[in-house]
Each structure stands twice: as C-alpha cells, then as structure tokens.
C-alpha cells in the first residue's frame, strides 16, 4: 500500500538527461504521487490550440464532411502563443473578439489536372496575417527520405474535385479531446535496483556468468576487469527478469534480486509538435501549481470560516 512519506519528500530534484525540441528525458527524485500527477497533467491539461469548428463551404472530395473535419482537427498547431488566447467559454459573449479566442484558417483548393492532388496542412492559410515564431500555424513536417518539407495529408482530390473550408482553431486541453493533447509520449518508469549475492556469484563459473550476461536482452550486465559480473547499464533494465530465470536454471534462484527503486523516476516526454518538449513539462508544472494553489486557498477560506 502506498503511503506519502513527508520526511523523505521534502526535496524534489530534477536532472535533465536528454533534451531537444521533440524529446525531453529527465529523472525526477521525489514522490510517486507527484510524478504521476505531472504525467497526467502533461497528457490531459496542458492547453494548446487545435481546429475545433469547420465551416464547410464546398466539399466534393472523397471524404465526407465529418471525416474531413476530424482530420483537420487532429493536425497539430504550433501553440507557443496559446497562453495569450482565451478559452472559448472565458471570452465575453457580448463582445466577441475572434482574435482573442481563435485563429481562423482557410483551405481552398481545386484540382484541375488529371493527376490526383494531395491536400496537406501546407494548404491551410491563416486568415488574420500572423508571422514569426509565435504564429499559430500547422506544424511543419519534413520527409524522412529527402528532408523536403511535406505537409500532413488531409485528403486527395481527383479531377475537378474541390475543397473549400474555413477552420476555427480554439484553445483547449487534452481532457476535452485528444487533439488538444500536446504529447505523443508522456511516461515514466521507476529505476531498477539489481542486487547480486556476491558469495553465490563467486561460485559461478565464467561460462555461467557469461550466460547470465547474455540472457539480458537489454545488455544491462557486463564483465569487469576481474571477470566478475557487474551491473553496467541499470537504466536500460525493463524488468523482463530474464537474468533471474537464467540464474534459476543454474539452481541459484536467490542470486539476483530485482526491485523498483523508490523515489526516483525517469520521465520520457515526446512532443506531438505543438509545444517544445521542455515547454510541455514547464506548462504542466504551472497547471499543477495552480491546482494546488486553488486547494490551499479553499482550505484557508474554510479555516477562516471555522474560526468565525
């Protein structure tokens, strides 16, 4: 049963292991509940922009209107500027200022040629002219083959087919719909702890040691200079317990002990493109902080009420 340890968890530490725009890997030392809360907020509550309403003016493409709208919605939009936008429901209903809540894109294409025309996110044109890094626009996608910029495919048009739609991108979060989720992967794992019984280890022959080393699919074990079995790459361990089974086959079931290390979690966050990976973590922490603040405010208020 899980228990929060107040004494142990006064200090939280984050150490960044790997960082680029798409991926952020860091170790988090602290409590499990906080680690999981960060993960959950990253998936469900970091606000980004996504196309939500689609006005269909003309659609003679092979896809139905609903299908087209769903595909448009799932296109990730670069949303670093999402903080400056308001949620649809926050905006004053009397004085609706479109610029405050949404970004509008138009898509107007007609294929006049015999060859099919692929409609991609590159054909989406923002209506209120936005420029620069902070512009809310579809993410850019590059071909893995030749590095050329290719858009995200939406549909294909045959001869004389056309699409004319107006897309309204609104601010939202992943709990409402997965299109507002900024992550591809948000996961953590507990670091492994492998303890080997040294006396039993000494009794193993070299070939047996090698067998244990080779049993691990992730190459966690290695041999040191003295031909002793050591744990070399603990971070790779996936708890498959192959090494334990290998030891069991040598009639040494207690040779290797495997545990989850408490209070240290290795996070992997991969961005879907709306935000940079580090931004997602930062914004998740802000959201989490806001929630905690709300609770403490409420508690303060309740306490004051009681005193009166």
């Amino acid at each position: 049963m899980y228990k929060y340890n107040f004494e142990q968890n006064t200090q939280h530490r984050i150490e960044i292991l790997e960082l680029n725009d798409e991926k952020c890997k860091f170790s988090f030392e602290g409590d499990l509940s906080i680690a999981n809360a960060i993960r959950r907020v990253m998936i469900a509550e970091v606000p980004v922009m996504a196309i939500h309403f689609v006005d269909i003016i003309e659609n003679t493409s092979p896809l139905s209107d609903e299908f087209l709208a769903q595909r448009l919605g799932l296109i990730p939009l670069v949303s670093s500027a999402a903080d400056s936008k308001m949620y649809d429901w926050e905006a004053d209903a009397d004085s609706i200022d479109d610029q405050k809540t949404k970004v509008v894109f138009t898509l107007r294409q007609k294929n006049l040629n015999d060859a099919p025309l692929e409609i991609t996110s590159q054909h989406l044109e923002p209506e209120f002219g936005q420029v620069g890094e902070m512009a809310i626009r579809p993410v850019r996608m590059f071909s893995p083959i030749n590095g050329k910029e290719v858009g995200i495919p939406i549909t294909r048009l045959g001869k004389n087919q056309s699409v004319h739609v107006r897309c309204h991108a609104l601010k939202g979060f992943g709990k409402m719909h997965a299109k507002w989720s900024p992550i591809n992967i948000a996961t953590f794992r507990h670091e492994a702890e492998i303890n080997m019984d040294q006396t039993q280890l000494q009794s193993l022959s070299l070939s047996e040691k090698n067998a244990i080393r080779n049993s691990c699919p992730m190459n966690v074990f290695a041999m040191d200079a003295n031909q002793d079995l050591i744990v070399n790459a603990i971070e790779k361990c996936v708890f498959c317990e192959e090494c334990i089974r290998s030891a069991e086959s040598m009639k040494k079931p207690r040779l290797i002990k495997m545990q989850h290390k408490k209070n240290k979690y290795i996070f992997t966050v991969e961005s879907a493109g709306q935000l940079k990976a580090a931004e997602i973590v930062q914004k998740a922490l802000i959201v989490l902080r806001k929630k905690v603040d709300e609770i403490s405010q409420d508690l303060n208020f309740a306490q004051q009420q009681q005193q009166i």
Binding site: L32, I43, I185, F239
Partner: protein, 420 residues
Amino acid sequence: MEAVNQHRLPAGHNAQVAVMSYSCYDIEDALIMNKSSLDRGFGRTAVYKKSVTECEINQRNKESRFNERIDEPPTKTHNTKKKFIKKYHALDSDGITKVGAQLHHGDIYVNKKTPQVPDNPQIENIQIADTPSVFKEKWPYTVDRVLIINNTNDGTEKIKTVKTIFRQIRRPEFGDKFSSRHGQKGVVGLIVNQEDMPFNERGWCPDLIMNPHGYPSRMTIAKLMELLCGKLGALEGKFKYGTAFGGENVLQVGEELLKRGFHYQGKDCLISGITGEYMECYVYQGPIFYQRLKHMVIDKIHARAKGPMEKLTRQPVEGRAKDGGQRIGEMERDCFLAYGASNLLIERLLISSDPFNVYVCEICGMFKSDSVCRGCNTDKVYQIRLPYCCKLLFQELLAMNIKPKLQLVPSHERQEYTMN
C-alpha cells in the same frame, strides 16, 4: 488473407490490446476503450441509409396532369405556422433535399404531391394531396447524395425517381459491439481517459482492454498467437501468420521478441495510470485486429412516456419502430407481487396502460351503458374501473354465450385474505 486481398482493404483496426482486468466494467466480455483512441478515429464508422421516392402515373387516369410530381416547398407567409414550415427546412427550391442538409425525425426530404382524380375528369381544378417522403430515423442523418432519374414511360411521359442516401458518422460509445476475428465479441463497457489507462515505460498505452476470462473457456489459441505474432510483426515491419494451424512457431517468435527487448511471452510490465505504481503482474499486450460490428446502441436505444396505443386493446403498442412501450410481462408482474408493491402494480397494469370506467349492475352483474339497469329495473348500478382488455374479454365471452357475472362488494366489506 492474400486470396481476397484483405490485408490491403481491411475492415477494422489493429487495436493495441492489454489483456487485463480494469474497473469491473469489463465483466462478461465487455471491453474498456481508450477515449483518446476514439478521439483519434478508432472504430469510427459511416452508416449509410438509402431511400427511393418514385413518382407514379395514376392508374385510373393516365393524363399527365394526374401524375405524381415533386413540388417546391411552401413559402413562408404571415399565417403559416412555424412548426409547419420547419419540416421543409432541408428542401431546395426544386422540392428535393440539399446535399449536406441535416435531417431530423419528421423532416421532409422529397416534397411529393399526388393529384386526386375526380369523378369527372373534365374538371380543371383538381385537388392535390401532400404525399411527401418523411424522414423516419430517430437520430439526425446528413444527406450524402441525391440521385434524380427521369424515367421515360412508353417514350412519352417523363417520370421522376429520387434516390437519397443519408449518412451518419458514428463514434464508438457505450454498448457498441466489437469483435476480434476469433469470435471473441464484446460490447464497450467503459470509455477511459488516456491518463487513467495503464502504460509501460516506453510510453505504450492500450486502445482497448480485454478481460482475460474470455480465454480459458473459449480456448481461442489463435488470438493469443495473433497478439504475439502481431507484436513481433509490428517490431519487424513484416506480416506474420497468427493462425493456430501452422503459422509462426511461437517459441521462435518469443525468442525474436526477447532479442528486441521484450518479454519472451509477450507480457510487459505495466504501470497503473491512476496511481503510478507498477502492476503486480505482467500483462499480455500487443496488437489484435478488431472489427466493429453493426449492432450499435444508437439503433436500439428506445424509451417512451406516452405514445401510440393498440386499437383493439387500448394498451400501448409493442416495438421500437412503432414507438412502443416497455412490456411488464408475467415474470415482471411476479416480481411486483413478491415484493408486495401493489400500488405500483395497479399503476403499471391499469393506470398507465388501459384504464376504463364502466357501469355494472349489482343484480345482473353485467356492463351497462349508463347508471340505470333497465333489465333488472334498478338503479343499483355502480361505476367501476377495470382494464379495457378485461372488459373486452367479458364481451367476447358474452359473444360465445358465456355469461361472466361481476359480483360487486363494497370496499369496506372487502374480505381480508390470509394464507390459510
């Protein structure tokens, strides 16, 4: 697969399945679905319905002015009722529905008119009756395509036929039926947010959770093999054969999986999305091909408060198509009896069904039309309330020369019945 090119044109998805128990909404073959997967398009289907409206030549008089025709919708004037004009909202000026219009229950999609042939065909002003095609589905559909055919009849008259195709895009919801290709069918029992779903350290998260109780009694070994081979196939980027009759060697597949850093039995260590703790067991997980079956809740959901009644018995009609009621049958009645819910019983079987007030003569015990019995020459005639079909039964018995005599007892003198 190859023989029918099913690997090129599949009718389902490779769902990432975790074989585990979750939240007890997965008992009796129910499935747990990931909400984010549904958002991204898992199991989304388009349902098409077709309807044909034909204009016919009047058989009594084949003059062209008596042919059925499609007319423009009524225009809005100051004295047309809002409700009346609303039915015609989907129509174009030619009286046929627009492509892309949304049709609700009761909307008109082809405004057909039928001229009435008068007895004297010379009359100029003929009556024209409305015989429109009315949309009968309970939930809104979108008009997908409209096809207008002009049939030439005998090379003289042009008669219109309108075919309309309606479309509805359906996202999986509670109670929709899914199946793998091993006869393992189940309904959606719960839709869970992605953050609550179990995940592994690589970031994998299931689309669908299936309860392991489906396996032992059904003995669908092929499904276990499909999962294992599918997992390896996904890692290798190759097609694999998951059939139990030949196919891949499971032991070899396991070893290949092990080389790629997975558990050789296809099991993985999952972390609970709710608590963040590791699960105490390894979970069998990987891709399985899942298809959506046509039994969908939206086609079967039904409820009514008041509605149409049967003409003969004056009881509610039966069946969803006729907007019928939910029957309290014999066994249901027994439940009420056993529970002693006598007022509920009266309410269900009489008041909400077919109450009928009738006069009964105390002496002859027959139904009377008013408060005097002329046969017995008495005014000891009382009004009682009974189900209409009970009255019907007595009258039918009377028609067979059997006299059911009603014996009236004042309510304060009513006998109390006991078990002995």
